[in-house]
Symmetry: C2
Subunit: 263 residues, 2 copies
């Protein structure tokens, strides 16, 4: 016999899945459920509801009730552009972006000098004594934070340059790096999927049960030296990460059984 709180969660989860509880819809109150399942201990009902909250399916609103979560993901493209973009692609990627999305973007920029964390240090191949400059950006849409973007570079490289200006750099910071003799020609992307830290919950105003992707980009110059590490934190409920890949002809020769389309 399954525990009561699980039955409550399972029943509600199914109702959400089959649409009888639509996005934005209101769930039964704790009192309703207490009666319906005869359990009559508020904590049991709350335990069941908390499961759904932690799955990111519902959100509680104090003094209002529990509601089915709604989300409208944005397309997040690590690749700057697509070489080919046939009409078919747009058919569904377009569905992801809300039609007539007129929310205005803005961002906070903050630059400081810090000791490198291990994450940054190992990727930039620095000694533990080296300092790095960090350019922290919080990106917003109509005032609401939607992702965090922190770029790190060796202080010795960017000191005194425009890279360190806490304002928007019109021609792009990568152009600044190029002028410093470090044109970026290659990037390695690592994507970690995890729950957010309380700090991230605060900065991104995340609801409970919202995981994040930590997207770490290490960029390299032509001589294969690492130049910059960018850590993007993107909330899972507000983004889809999109990549396009084209077949590399060399690949086929060397490895007939490629895992194209899979892992």
């Amino acid at each position: 016999m399954k525990p009561i709180y699980q039955r409550i969660a399972d029943d509600l989860r199914e109702q959400i899945a089959d649409g009888s509880l639509p996005p934005g819809g209101k769930l039964p109150t704790e009192a309703d459920l207490r009666e319906k399942y005869g359990t009559s201990a508020r904590s049991t009902v709350r335990q069941g509801l908390s499961l759904l909250v932690n799955e990111g399916l519902i959100v509680p609103r104090r003094a209002k009730g529990y509601f089915v979560r709604e989300m409208r993901p944005l397309v997040y493209r690590p690749q700057s552009k697509f070489r080919r973009r046939p009409p078919e692609v747009d058919i569904y990627t377009h569905l992801l972006v809300s039609e007539g999305d007129e929310r205005r973007p803005s961002q906070d920029i903050e630059v400081s000098i810090v000791e490198a964390s291990t994450t940054v240090r190992s990727r930039l191949q620095l000694k533990s004594t080296d300092l790095v400059a960090v350019r922290r950006r919080t990106r917003r849409l109509d005032g609401e934070a939607y992702n965090l973007n922190d770029s790190y570079a060796a202080l010795s490289l960017v000191e005194g340059s425009e890279w360190m200006m806490p304002t928007d750099v019109a021609r792009g910071t990568n152009q600044v790096l190029a002028e410093l003799g470090k044109e970026l020609v290659r990037a390695l992307d690592e994507i970690y999927v995890r729950m957010p830290t309380p700090e991230e919950v605060r900065r991104l105003q995340l609801g409970p049960g919202t995981p994040v992707a930590e997207h770490v980009v290490t960029t390299f110059a032509a001589d294969d030296s690492p130049v910059q590490v960018t850590i993007n934190v993107v909330p899972g409920d507000r983004h889809v990460i999109v990549y396009e890949r084209v077949k590399d002809p060399d690949d086929f020769e060397q490895r007939p059984r490629s895992n194209w389309g899979a892992e």
Copy 2:
């Protein structure tokens, strides 16, 4: 004044972060914490601990206690291979894979014919009446499931071919598709970050507080028609998703201020 259960969670979280509670280490028992925080209602202490559980930081083991979670991520590469792989890259990507990782891979394969879900249908541009074949794979490492990989293709395309054999196809299913006149030349990757469904929790034996990445790969033939959709579900605590990008020269001309290294 912060609620007691949050103080408990914050204190423990900090101890985990600074290493005084190392991975695999045992946390104080509920009784210890009850005493320490003078709260003396088990539910309050449990509420605090459940926060950390849902953040994926700790796991409870019945009749044993709570323990700090340990994880050893595998590298998950949607791209079949890297054209250039300078030594620097390996320095840290290698750290991710446990040294001397001798776990043996295996997989279950199961093929069936189903109606296409909206996700699959829109990507394969099918009519609602069309049927699709699905090739479901559960991949294991030493018997333990580590990701799910379901490929969908129009039934009319793959019916009767080796694609539908529920066994390993030596030369690869993509080669089979090529022989059917649909060589895969391009792919679109979409990555969604979310909490797992109970079904996924069961199949992947996920601990609480473990988010997943849903990696949807749509592959196209030379004529830009969609051929196959593969949905990979990869647990966040066991994988790092890695991509490499090289600068496209065209890119620079058309769009001087590229977002190379960022979003």
